[in-house]
Amino acid sequence: MNAIFLSLFLGATAILLFVNPPLFLPTVLEAAGDSATLCVALLASYAVWMGLMEVWKACGITRGIAKLLRPVCKRLFRTDDEQTLQAVSANLSCNFLGLGGAATPYGIEGARLLDQSPQAEYASCMFFALNATSLQLLPTSVVGLRASLGSGAPADIILPTMLCTAFSTVVACFFTWLFLSPKKSCAAGACSGRKKQAVFSNKSAAGTR
């Protein structure tokens, strides 16, 4: 990121130096000002959703979601360790809500614990694939941003986002399972579950072409 930033910044500024030098400072200042405005818009949507998250935490909905996710996590990561499963499911449920910032602490803990799990190589890669393609059910900050910019229907991107994010997650998990899964320890139940996923992802891949 440092190299990209530096080279693009220097390149653009050098061109500007030849084309229109007085434009530099106003451009930079206006951009910084606009980023402050953007942060205010983001703050608005974060405040609303993190408020809701806290209510969920207080009344046990978060724990309920984590409990629902536990069997799935057990199969995906092939571990029985309670603490690991808890961190991993908390991380995934934050991702569902599109709160990447809130998911980070659980994600770090989950990655550290999975590293010590019985099939660490596979489990770590699977956890990475799930987080990197982040299954996002409610793109809260995008909807908030659209609303703050005066969109006619800020929520109409929810369905396509759900489909795309599910698609990217299934594809990444399928690849990870296909190439990195230690085959001999594959339990019968887990295998049949994954076959379904494989069929689904083949179908959606065919659909894009």
Partner: protein, 171 residues
């Protein structure tokens, strides 16, 4: 169809607050505590957003952006992805705050409800910042096969961007 999705969010709030009230949770206190946590989070991402917004504006003002997009446009056109969102698609795996800055730029430039803007929104939501997750979550963890997982995630991400532009055209 769209009106159903407009209903989702208020329904979630009503259901959650009612459930919380039944469970005798102090809804107001919890909500305030949670909303307060948004401020340090925003403070921590502001510098990144500012840096990327400045960079994006400089690229536009100098004309370098047009040249890069012109260079990339055949590939994007082939995949059915509008070339206007190329910058966002490329920055998303690297920086989350950077890509939301780019998203806001696109929404402002082309109008919130335009095809380009909707594509950008869905592309933004379709995956996470792959390299950020690798750097932050897996900072102290050395796994041989992690580069493979990174490659899989990037492939999945680019495929889903192609899918998203297709979906935005029909929906």
């Amino acid at each position: 169809m769209n009106s159903i999705f407009a209903l989702i969010i208020p329904v979630i709030f009503i259901a959650s607050f009612l459930y919380a009230a039944v469970k005798k949770t102090k809804v107001y206190d919890s909500f305030v505590a949670g909303a307060g946590k948004a401020i340090p989070l925003i403070v921590s991402i502001f510098p990144y957003i500012a840096a990327i917004t400045i960079l994006a504006r400089l690229l536009t003002a100098s004309g370098l952006e047009d040249k890069i997009l012109h260079f990339l446009s055949p590939a994007f056109r082939f995949l059915g992805v509008p070339q206007e969102i190329a910058g966002l698609v490329l920055i998303k795996p690297l920086s989350g705050s950077g890509s939301i800055a780019m998203l806001a730029e696109l929404l402002g430039k082309y109008g919130v409800d335009s095809y380009v803007a909707r594509c950008a929104c869905v592309a933004y939501g379709s995956a996470e910042t792959v390299f950020y997750v690798a750097a932050v979550y897996f900072a102290g963890i050395k796994r041989k096969k992690l580069p493979l997982a990174i490659a899989f995630s990037l492939i999945a991400y680019f495929l889903s961007v192609v899918l998203c532009c297709l979906l935005c055209r029909v929906m």
